[in-house]
Subunit: 412 residues, 2 copies
Amino acid sequence: MHSHPPAGDLQSVDEYLAEISAAITPLAPRELSLADAEGARAAADITAGYALPPFDNSAMDGFAVLAADLAGASTERPVTLPVTGEVPAGDTREHRLEPGHCLRIMTGAPLPAGADAVVPVELTESGDGQVTFRAPVEPGGSVRLTGSDVRPGDLLLTAGTRIGPVELGLLAAAGHATVPARPRPRVAVIATGNELAEPGTPLARGQIWESNSTMLAAAARADGADAYRPAAVPDDKAKVLAMIEAELGHADLLITSGGVSMGGEHDVVKAALLEFGEVRFRKIAMQPGMPQGFGLLGGGRTPILTLPGNPVSAYISYLLFGRAALNALQGGPAARLEPTRIALAGPVRSPGGKRSFLRGVLSAGRTSVSPLTGQASHQLATLAKADALIIVPEEVTAMTAGELADVLFLHV
Amino acid sequence: MHSHPPAGDLQSVDEYLAEISAAITPLAPRELSLADAEGARAAADITAGYALPPFDNSAMDGFAVLAADLAGASTERPVTLPVTGEVPAGDTREHRLEPGHCLRIMTGAPLPAGADAVVPVELTESGDGQVTFRAPVEPGGSVRLTGSDVRPGDLLLTAGTRIGPVELGLLAAAGHATVPARPRPRVAVIATGNELAEPGTPLARGQIWESNSTMLAAAARADGADAYRPAAVPDDKAKVLAMIEAELGHADLLITSGGVSMGGEHDVVKAALLEFGEVRFRKIAMQPGMPQGFGLLGGGRTPILTLPGNPVSAYISYLLFGRAALNALQGGPAARLEPTRIALAGPVRSPGGKRSFLRGVLSAGRTSVSPLTGQASHQLATLAKADALIIVPEEVTAMTAGELADVLFLHV
């Protein structure tokens, strides 16, 4: 590792993440149906009101027995018991097993009173109204005891937990039809720039096709937001202001891209928001993604993130700061990166004083990561090839193949 | 590692995955708008029709120059050039730089004819109609060349690629308003069982709250499907058949849970589908999740997966076989697991002849994984605590702390 002191006039990534997390007020919690809670976060600790399973039940299709009745069973000395009934799953009747008998029982069916074990059907031989057992069974064998999954009072979800498929399943299994949750944030993703044309339309000289809003809105949706794209805004301060004011009535978070660099009156987002007040523009000690802005707008104190316009800068900024804002809106745990330490398959370079996020490709088994060529912030094709971001710390300017690096996975 | 021969009468996980992938016909491709293509997969190789960027442009806000004009510039011998104009981004005019002059230029603006470099504004001093440079610049400095991201004919996406946020961004940037894609599959998730009550309603004796359909539908949505839950079906063969026949008209994939074990006439899904034909029930050499069924139903040859009813078995079965089916429907690459090799933080046991999927928790940095206690297939709370699945191969019955294991991450 070659080292370099961090640059002094830049704000660090971690400070900026902490500022975003601290400034944002979480959305008001609501009681959401499970169908609407997908992607929301629990607004309180959720505890179990009931035991799961709610009753002792069979783990197998087989025969409910009293284990003592099979104490001496073996191939040489099989035990044969009369079958006195059948307990299917969902049976609401009360059954009782008399010693010296057995009951046919299905997976999930309540264990009859008097029984203390189940012998799976494939370990038995069924005859006419009777069953033969050639081995003993332990008391409790193939029985799921009441509360062996969840006991009443157990914590099911802690406040702030993202409600995904398994959390939904656990809530449903525990009988919850609704859950107190902070809903999916509504996110307006606004692209700005005179150079932007809608894909599918011909380009005039000097124009490019607008892609950031499509990409960032999809990324926010993948992170549990309800994101939408208002029409792109030209470089006109009044129009930018009007769009922002309109979206303040709809969105829980505004994300803009473009218009925040060093171009003076051409940086219309910056110019418009400086007039609005309460948005602070700053340089973050990172590459790509240095120029950033964040503030709270209007009476609702709606957070706004102004991301740079280069597509790779915008995307990586979203991953860091957009996710942090969404987390904060949903009352999630303070944003932090969760990198994995993996060996570099090739050397990397980084400007001193900035944390670099370099696109890379993981090996099979994710034991190493190869930095890609084409790391400039306009090279979106390289991002589409990448499945990982290699993080090079601020104080490091070069790393060699074989060194362990912090790596963010872009996919599961 | 303790070893044990694989069990002979079971089908291996890999054989079953291959069978599912081979049997399913991909959905017909459609030309989808980008908004509708989110979560779809490309139905053909997509190549670029244009260069990106489409024109040489500035990477910075600054001044467009002829590099030769600044050849000797230094702090001692600064070079001052008159500013003859300004090129904002999106400028459709044609500009020409005369040697010995410079033009103000914004990020993304087209490089004027005659210029070959840009000097960032922060490296200059602006005076009245002129700018002073105190260092030379390389030709090409701060210029993004035409095609430096994508050249015409470059492969943007290969057929079968999942269209996520970055892929959408790349398609938009390349001017595509639509993309030939296999759409999000429609998935009906059907729970069966007399014991099932809807969450929020009181339980009768012997009942449990239905959770599998909620969990599996959410999991399928997270994987890019449009999943829905018809009402749960009681253990009545005619009703199961009627539900399956009705859903064949709506869904691209049917997923059932429950009703497929050893209970004879009580296993109504099995009984119903054996009558329907074309569904093969089998035991897979895995734990949890051994009893599985797969087949193609009706004139549309709609695939159906019958998953076991235990919630953990159902979820892990979905991760393996449900995802494989979705992949196949979308023409994705043949399903395969992508585990990471990580050290075990504690010992694990596994039945001989079966591949075990054990719930675990990753350490910070994902350098090791701790197996959780509570691995029975009804213990859903343990799955909610887990962020990884430890895979123990068929021939292994025990592994010790420190051994490297194949681990599937459940989250990014």
